[in-house]
């Protein structure tokens, strides 16, 4: 009996210490997958730029700025018609080093999935339709579209080197022909 009492007295503080350190339910419960809170695309892109130092550059332009451009004296009617339809543009761009640029030009730079993975994990991509997916050794491009409402579409271009998000009353044809329309605007803007 004495033996049992000594063993019990020795085990009791050990048992108490063990109970304090870890709850039994925590040990028995199955491991829950870590839920990542989904954020807005612009927030994610902005945080990508701030967290990676000078490796990425981010900017966002709102509807008000496009309206301000429409009031400029030398704005041409074609560009004004285009900018009146655009609600926002945001872009995250990877800043390449000279060595990387050389490799990219010779198509010797393998693509990096980091941007796509970051967006896929942190942004709610439900409702987006993949219009285009292209993968080569040196590039990964995905082009997505989301219809937000009548006359309000969002086009999202994600490549391994940049993310461009355009929102407004625009269609795929508008984007397809945009570079022709913007030639004049490029001339009147600062270099």
């Amino acid at each position: 009996m004495k033996k049992y009492l000594i063993i019990l007295m020795t085990l009791l503080p050990i048992a108490l210490a063990a109970q304090n350190s870890t709850s039994v339910s925590e040990i028995l419960a199955p491991a829950q997958p870590v839920k990542v809170e989904k954020k807005e695309l612009a927030v994610v892109l902005s945080s990508c730029a701030t967290s990676t130092g000078d490796n990425y550059r981010f900017f966002q332009i709102n509807e008000e700025m496009f309206k301000a451009f429409c009031n400029l004296k030398d704005a041409d009617s074609t560009s004004v018609a285009l900018f009146q339809k655009i609600k926002s543009v945001c872009m995250l761009e990877r800043v390449l080093t000279n060595a990387e640029r050389k490799k990219l030009n010779s198509k010797d730079l393998p693509y990096d999935c980091w941007l796509w993975n970051t967006i896929h994990n942190n942004v709610d991509l439900t409702g987006y339709t993949i219009l285009l997916k292209s993968t080569t050794y040196s590039s990964l491009t995905k082009f997505l579209k989301k219809e937000l409402g009548p006359g309000d579409n969002e086009f999202l271009l994600i490549s391994d080197k940049m993310v461009i998000d355009i929102r407004g009353d625009i269609q795929i044809n508008t984007i397809y022909e945009m570079q022709k329309v913007l030639r004049y605007v490029q001339k009147i803007l600062p270099n």
Binding site: F59, M65, M162, I175, Y176, I188
Partner: protein, 137 residues
């Protein structure tokens, strides 16, 4: 000091004229007095503040909307800022457009290539003899 002397006949005539004019004015005045009301007297008392309020509103609206004075709304962005931001936007839009054009262009090329390497669908020969020959063979 030299005094003016009138002809006594003229003086009498003049005095009579003045007297007659005074009598006439005294007789006519009560008749025309009610008609001598100024138009402003038609405005009622409550109409003054209303008119004042309308005037203040009109003046305020003009002051806020006009391009003169300190009430002119200042533009939120300067022209340089607008041009700089737009330069970035144009770059983004052009890059996006270029990438899309390139990628879809590749798809078109791919389509043409697929068409070129895949066997063309068999066309029905126009010549009925050729058809019959094939059947016979």
């Amino acid at each position: 000091m030299e005094q003016e002397h009138f002809d006594p006949d003229f003086q009498e005539l003049y005095d009579r004229y003045i007297q007659a004019e005074r009598e006439e004015a005294g007789r006519i005045y009560p008749e025309i007095a009610p008609k001598l009301i100024m138009p402003v007297r038609h405005i009622r008392r409550w109409q003054y503040p209303v008119a004042a309020a309308i005037l203040i509103l009109a003046a305020g609206t003009w002051a806020l909307r006009s391009d003169f004075g300190s009430f002119k709304p200042q533009p939120k962005y300067t022209e340089a800022e607008v041009r700089q931001s737009l330069s970035e936007a144009v770059r983004a839009l052009t890059l996006c457009s270029q990438t899309i054009t390139q990628e879809f262009g590749q798809i078109e090329n791919l389509g043409a290539m697929t068409e070129a390497i895949s066997p063309a669908p068999r066309e029905i020969a126009d010549n009925p003899q050729e058809n019959s020959k094939t059947t016979k063979n």
